[in-house]
Assembly symmetry: C2
Amino acid sequence: MGSRLVSKTLIIGAAGMIGRKLSLQFSREDLLLHDVVPFDGASFVSDLSAPGEAEKLVASRPELIFHLAAIVSGEAEADFDKGYRINLDGTRRLFEAIRKVGDGYKPRVVFTSSIAVFGAPFPEAIGDEFLNAPLTSYGTQKTIGELLLSDYSRRGFFDGIGIRLPTICVRPGKPNKAASGFFSGIIREPLAGQEALLPVPETVRHWFASPRAAIGFLLHAAKLDTAQLGNRRNLSMPGVSATVGEQIEALRKVAGEKAARLIRREPDATIMRIVEGWPRNFDARRALALGFRADASFEDIIRIHVADELQKSSAPRTNSA
Amino acid sequence: MGSRLVSKTLIIGAAGMIGRKLSLQFSREDLLLHDVVPFDGASFVSDLSAPGEAEKLVASRPELIFHLAAIVSGEAEADFDKGYRINLDGTRRLFEAIRKVGDGYKPRVVFTSSIAVFGAPFPEAIGDEFLNAPLTSYGTQKTIGELLLSDYSRRGFFDGIGIRLPTICVRPGKPNKAASGFFSGIIREPLAGQEALLPVPETVRHWFASPRAAIGFLLHAAKLDTAQLGNRRNLSMPGVSATVGEQIEALRKVAGEKAARLIRREPDATIMRIVEGWPRNFDARRALALGFRADASFEDIIRIHVADELQKSSAPRTNSA
């Protein structure tokens, strides 16, 4: 990849887990990296929603833009104004800044959306024509981002593609307080010899992709012939649908009974209620036909975590402070 | 209706065709009427998207708000900035103004959306779970309004309901340049003894409601127990699906062969291309189950136009300048 693909690549939200892994896929000299938090190698540190900041990011006319920046679900729910300011206004300011460059500038824009654009009740598997009825402010903001991306693309202001990521699993790093945190925790902690809490029954089903698969989606989206998309530029990515019971069984296969025994059941009604509104399974036919590839199984998702996070050696380290 | 229902009713976009007809359904002393264009009986004349204006509209805490104001499809497509400013920012400013009243204020908000939130390709009939993939900036802005309405309602800031109106037919008044204008023109002009142009083949199918049915939808939405909606607060209204050929046959039945002969075929490839992207038919099951009622047939739609516009006598006149 890298300079062969485009002249300049801008990654907005580059300090996050996906942003850091994505950055490693490009030659450093081709990259413009942005985040609101300072980090090693940053080209810009700013609040995307502040007047004039988006304009600075696109002033050098990067031909490929990954827009990964977002206030996450829990925080957007807790802080209504902040969620709308960053996730809606920030995204709109970026799109407006690109439009206003004019002069034939028409970059590829890859926008990370989320399965949070869907809300229960669901069919058995969510198809490509299922309505967006999000049940969180975050999901609402991501859906609005998708709609703006489609309209700006249809108008010819840029060449956009929206990628609805499954829940990323196994997320490396420390446990966090996200309601979805346990999906990674029950794998990551036992692999590190530590206890993990499981707040929901083993029958809970959810939709997963490894960080490696997510990076694959973004790179594929960057190269895709978007003429194939018609006017529907937002795609549910393929993933692995697994119950918590199947997750645990896969852990047992990869790391043995001892690891599986480190999972402690501690039912939490609040988390259960939140999780009940989340997608469980997709029929991601369009994305598959367009060449997006999911992990092969939940066992593979665990093996990828082991290979990329626990056994990694030669890969250059980015800041993970 | 009127004072029995609520203490105060605000109609935003009250000078439009639907706004004027809706106003007549309430006692004058209960009404606050707003539009951007001056009109008889206006309580407010202002640009909803201008800072501070939305706050003035809700300062007296109206318990029922109809938000009908919009830049229409053709103009929103021709003037990108104006469409987003009025249809997105104006709507958001209104919702924010309501939220910021606080202090237990939680009005019913009835928002007129449109079948333009859908874009081709379509199934045979568009169901209640079909995706929103609009093909115009107007449709994009209406979809965003729907999403905001859902999220603000879920958060408890107001009690919202979005009503996706079919194409209103027969629109009274002069012919206009909207691409959809001919659907009304081929009925209205012949009934008035005048020639009408038909730019598309008779096989074109579309989705209609009379102005009377539209007013019925809005009044029903104002009274509905919204607990029945769950978190899906935007509803495709029932309507009449008819081909242009069926429209003409209905005209023939109501007004005779002489009227039907006043329709002159003048194919227009541009209009045909636009119309091809429009919805043709719906399966509006949810709205029907909730008690929304469509016109019985296209013949009835014509008879309603004759009764309400051509034979009207006792109904008080609003400004129609």
